[in-house]
């Protein structure tokens, strides 16, 4: 996929909802925790009981401003508004959101490929409850009944609305990934798409070339992974092109991405669209963060992913390959670059540190687990000094992560990964060469492929304790 036929171009804007990492909900003291027994984190406010009133969570405001500053938004005095529409997951049948006066006004996000995407706004609002469909297909279409859990109702959200500046599904994925990394870096969100912490809606239209006017757009909902973002947009753009090529028209509507079927389908058309009757929320007063507060939050922001990528690039110097660039993106996205910078600061070679963090550490932590930066640095130093082989270093790392930490040297010793001294290695080599005299002769005469054969024999004889690099060096030395 990915290529639209002829001179067609897609125009994409994304609306990203992110839950904020607060302890409590946006307007009440109920716990903001994912999961939990249904309808246990509820109170008069988040259940919308008659007589209840909202009071704004100061931490949510701070996190929203952090997001705004990270996206270079203008922070402005804001007013909460009511967005009125009936839906059973919405306890008051209106959503408290920000409308004409959002907290975060115009800003931008630069993609790693250099594209600048305008952020039109990043406003605060409350989440809805969670509906489960019973009977029928288990999906909303054709369900017999539904049940509602309001634990999520009132959870603080920031909705980040991009301009229509994205021109490919790949770019949309990059935008979502970069935004996710920024949200994690600010500490505003854990970015867990699979838990719904970050949810993406895409507005997609197509046109004939960059100078043509925008076409009719469709909004695609339910994009709950980066992969879905890319697939759904590719699919939707192609669907629209095919319609237009066939002389038909695109209807403005909301469409639902069916990940299993790999297609979008109509959720509601524009004629059914609501008249939201926004008006200022009379139960809340205006929010006007002071310059001092904004400056203090700005000063407390850590470096954002783009800057952190630049830092790693700087550590690598002139020898950057495409593989390095991928590793850099990957460690920054996963918030693991601190391991690389710590190792580099301790004098470990950046390429080795980057490779181990991007591959082995990321893999090990991916299954859940933790490791202190200092522990990783020691292990990298051991490997670089030849105290352990690469294979051994990986095994030690897996044990360390599984145990949540420990002393790398002690783990290596316990696994029997003690450094073979040069004499012992020589003795093994003598024996292996003696046993395989013919092969050795061919190797000496220039059959390089046999280097692996001899390394393998030595490794087997030492039960993996020998350092592969040292074996190789010895073999070459002996060949002369």
């Amino acid at each position: 996929m990915a290529e639209l036929p002829d001179d067609w171009e897609m125009v994409v804007g994304l609306e990203v909802h992110t839950e904020l990492a607060t302890s409590t909900k946006l307007f009440c003291g109920c716990s903001n925790a994912f999961g939990g027994e249904p309808n246990t984190n509820v109170c008069p406010v988040c259940l919308g009981l008659p007589g209840s009133l909202p009071v704004l969570n100061e931490k949510a405001v701070e996190l929203a401003i952090r997001i705004g500053l990270a996206l270079h938004c203008e922070i402005a005095p804001s007013v909460f508004a009511r967005k009125n529409y009936f839906y059973p997951d919405q306890p008051k049948d209106y959503q408290i959101s920000q409308y004409d006066k959002p907290l975060n006004g115009i800003g931008h996000l630069d993609l790693p490929d250099g594209t600048r995407v305008v952020v039109e706004r990043a406003h605060m609002e409350e989440d809805t409850g969670k509906t489960t469909h019973l009977g029928g297909t288990g999906r909303i279409h054709g369900a017999d009944e539904s049940i509602v859990d309001y634990n999520r109702a009132g959870v603080p959200l920031v909705e980040i609305v991009s301009g229509p500046d994205i021109r490919s599904a790949e770019q949309a994925r990059l935008y979502a990934a970069e935004l996710r990394a920024i949200l994690i870096a600010t500490g505003a969100s854990d970015g867990r798409m699979e838990e719904g912490s970050m949810r993406v809606d895409a507005n997609v239209s197509v046109r004939r070339g960059p100078d043509a006017p925008f076409g009719t757009r469709c909004e695609i909902k339910n994009l709950n992974s980066l992969r879905s973002v890319q697939r759904a947009i590719d699919h939707e753009a192609l669907r629209q092109v095919m319609l237009l090529e066939a002389g038909e028209t695109v209807t403005q509507e909301t469409r639902h991405w069916d990940e299993d079927a790999g297609r979008t389908q109509t959720l509601r058309s524009k004629e059914e669209a609501y008249d939201y009757r926004y008006f200022p929320e009379p139960d809340l007063v205006p929010l006007a963060p002071s310059d001092e507060q904004i400056d203090a939050i700005r000063a407390s922001l850590p470096p954002m992913p783009a800057e952190r990528r630049r830092t790693l690039l700087g550590l690598l110097g002139d020898s950057v390959t495409e593989a390095h660039a991928d590793q850099i993106s990957s460690v920054v996205d996963q918030d693991l670059d601190r391991f690389v910078t710590a190792a580099a600061a301790a004098g470990v070679g950046a390429p080795l540190a980057l490779a181990r963090v991007a591959n082995e550490l990321a893999g090990a932590l991916g299954d859940g687990g933790e490791l202190e930066e200092g522990t990783m640095v020691v292990l990298l130093e051991m490997e670089e000094a030849g105290e352990v082989s690469a294979t051994q270093a990986k095994a030690v790392l897996a044990d360390l992560v599984a145990a949540g930490g420990g002393d790398p040297r002690a783990v290596a010793k316990a696994k029997g990964f003690e450094q073979m001294d040069a004499g012992a290695l020589d003795a093994v080599l003598d024996a292996v060469i003696a046993e395989n005299a013919d092969a050795w002769q061919r190797y000496v005469e220039g059959d390089d492929k046999l280097a692996g054969f001899f390394t393998g024999k030595v490794m087997a004889a030492t039960k993996g304790q020998a350092d592969g690099k040292a074996v190789n060096a010895s073999l070459r030395q002996r060949r002369g």
Binding site: Q90, P282, P289
Partner: protein, 102 residues
């Protein structure tokens, strides 16, 4: 501020749909007359030039009313669900939701 078009029975029918109220034809007619009379009284406002005045969003000049991010006890679920018209699986049960999603 110019005066908007007078209220029609059609408007009332549309508003009833937005407000989730079912009206009989007789009610549409009656409400149209009554609402038109109230809106007619409001015509005196349309005649005012208030373009230089701000909109009062609030009778008080308060701003930045915030609370600390501290967990407070939630309600007892049994007490909450005891007031619900229908419950299944400790959740609020509703009939089919047709072709829409918030």
């Amino acid at each position: 501020m110019s005066e908007p078009a007078p209220l029609s029975a059609d408007d009332v029918a549309k508003v009833a749909v937005l407000a989730r109220l079912n009206l009989t034809d007789e009610e549409v007619e009656r409400f149209t007359g009554q609402l038109a009379s109230i809106l007619g009284h409001a015509a005196d406002l349309a005649a005012l030039d208030l373009s230089t005045l701000k909109v009062t969003e609030h009778p008080l000049e308060l701003s930045n009313v915030l609370r600390a991010d501290e967990v407070r006890p939630s309600l007892d679920r049994a007490e909450v669900l005891s007031q619900a018209p229908a419950v299944a699986d400790d959740r609020f049960l509703v009939p089919q939701i047709v072709g829409e999603e918030g």
